[in-house]
Symmetry: C2
Subunit: 356 residues, 2 copies
């Protein structure tokens, strides 16, 4: 049995649970390395992975005897077999934030479970603190992202469409060793940049455009996330003022992302500084990332979570002037003892490209 | 109010529901065109889309007064406002197959709902029958996929890796007008092809390899899905026999995919023919597709669904010899009055490429 499953078995014991059903595929991947449809069950003595005919071979070829996971094909599992898995298990943990209401009812019936108990993001909370291997993978994904940004500074030309630039990001990631995208790349130019979650369009890059590029790749399944806002040909005074305000807060946040700080306190600092200057922070200041692009904890105004070393969180303040433009600057940051350490390291001072 | 929302309002009335919460973002996109985090509520008189600060501007810019949808920012919605939405609504429908157990409890509390009622894939069932616009989009996605296959026949060379070929598929889709991938492309060569859901590896293409390519793109949000199994340099007799068995069943299935046929009957036909020859059908014979790559109904051995014109379903029998090779042939098919009509039209007779 690996360390992570051992940890979970101890954890559920301490919560007075006799067993646990893990349904979230990302949590299953985290615990076992398995990437297949199915559920992982930690029962009284044994661990099971219940899957179907499509995956039995590939899962069996991934696992070794040391994993101590019994792979079962759901199609050949009788109702009696199912009920036997949870024999003498009174309290069975489940993931109430992943399992649908319909599945909840199905588990109760199919496995004859008396008491399904909510486990409150048990595994997700553990995933927040990255081990060395995970840190290495995320660092590598961040390096590829930095290289991509450098590439884009020369690549982007007036007359190209936002979609074309997004396509170039994807190609760069693929060619340079990434598994793929961590999320759909955002390339938003001109007034499109005023929407934080813009989708790349056929709009062409023009002289004077603000361009927001929000991109990230995956390396061995682990994500990076970085945003830079750059300028074509010139930058207007109004825009420059806002850029510097966002940048100041981004740097201040980075310093505060250290052991012992309560998430909401960092966020409130930025919200206050924006408000003093007449602006709102309309989205979260940052989110954890790892196997998923959005993990917990967040830098939200209500988050009581205390930062711990080796959490990895984005630092991404932004200001958006509806219909005109938006500025966002974002790094992926690892929480350190005395300060946050950025894993994305691209230049974030005002950058004006010629685009010719 | 558009036709689809009008349909849903009538439908819930006929089910004695006073309101409905639509949480599945694909269903929201289908009904409204909105692509943003949030929930759609059809209340007694009005329709609401409850979202957050990140999306308010983009959703408002998409909607017109004719949509009759009120956009609310959850951050400025008091508990009282929330409760007022469902005033005089006794029975409120929800999507039990999408909504998590935790969200179910949250809806009950936040909106003070007395009775949340399961709606049994109400919207998904309606989505199964495509309208003309949807058929056009899927047809276009299928055309791009056919073109990609033709391109690959010349592109694939001995010594290339599976990952390289998967990358070429992605590039081709992008360049040729697709929005992106419908699902992660499968390129599985040699013994890797024996796993129906193989992930492309760094294995290089060799003389004598079987290569299974399962790919699809999206056009205006709508998916295509096609698999072809091709051969490099030669095909062994054992493989040829199995290929012809799969192809025979794929063509027979295509004929049977017509109005009035019960899904399970088609599947049983293939299962029987495979069994007579000593093989198993280890995955479903086909699945519907549209905005999602897997929709309902399926061609499963238990599916009692009766096929109707303008359903769009894949036809994808496969045989897998563990550790050796696999053969799958798949088309995207539209259900017709007297026969299925393939929307992917690439050659599916035995294809041997030189790869030189």
């Amino acid at each position: 049995m690996n360390e992570k499953i051992r940890w979970l078995r101890n954890k559920i014991k301490s919560l007075n649970l006799d067993a646990m059903i893990v349904s979230n595929p990302i949590n299953i991947k985290y615990l076992t390395g398995i990437e297949a449809e199915g559920i992982l069950i930690l029962a009284r003595k044994e661990n099971f992975f219940i899957t179907d005919g499509r995956y039995v071979e590939s899962v069996n070829s991934l696992l070794t005897i040391e994993d101590e996971i019994i792979v079962e094909n759901i199609q050949s599992l009788s109702k009696e077999d199912g009920e036997n898995i949870f024999l003498f298990c009174e309290n069975v943990g489940f993931e109430e934030n992943y399992v649908t209401y319909a599945k909840y009812k199905e588990y109760m019936y199919k496995y004859k479970i008396n008491n399904l108990v909510e486990t409150e993001m048990l595994i997700e909370k553990q995933r927040a603190i990255k081990d060395n291997e995970e840190i290495n993978y995320i660092t590598k994904a961040c390096n590829i992202t930095d290289d991509c940004f450098e590439y884009l500074l020369n690549y982007i030309k007036i007359g190209m469409t936002e979609k074309q630039i997004a396509g170039a990001v994807e190609r760069f990631f693929r060619i340079n060793g990434a598994d793929g995208l961590a999320f759909d790349t955002i390339v938003a130019s001109g007034s499109n940049s005023s929407m934080p979650h813009a989708i790349p369009t056929d709009k062409k890059i023009e002289f004077g455009d603000v361009i927001t590029i929000d991109m990230g790749c995956k390396y061995k399944g682990y994500c990076s996330d970085m945003t830079r806002t750059i300028f074509v040909g010139e930058i207007k005074e109004e825009v420059k003022t806002i850029y510097n305000l966002v940048l100041k807060n981004q740097k201040q946040t980075l310093k505060e992302m250290r052991e012992g700080i309560v998430c909401k306190n960092i966020t409130k600092m930025v919200v206050n500084d924006f408000e003093i200057n007449g602006y709102d922070l309309i989205h979260g200041l940052g989110h954890s990332l790892g196997l998923e692009i959005h993990e917990i904890p967040n830098l939200g105004t209500k988050s009581e979570v205390i930062l711990k070393p080796n959490m990895i969180i984005t630092d991404e303040p932004g200001i958006y002037i509806a219909g005109k433009f938006g500025i966002r600057i974002e790094d992926t940051v690892i929480i350190g003892k005395s300060t946050g350490i950025p894993l994305t390291k691209s230049n974030k001072e005002i950058t004006i490209i010629k685009g010719e």
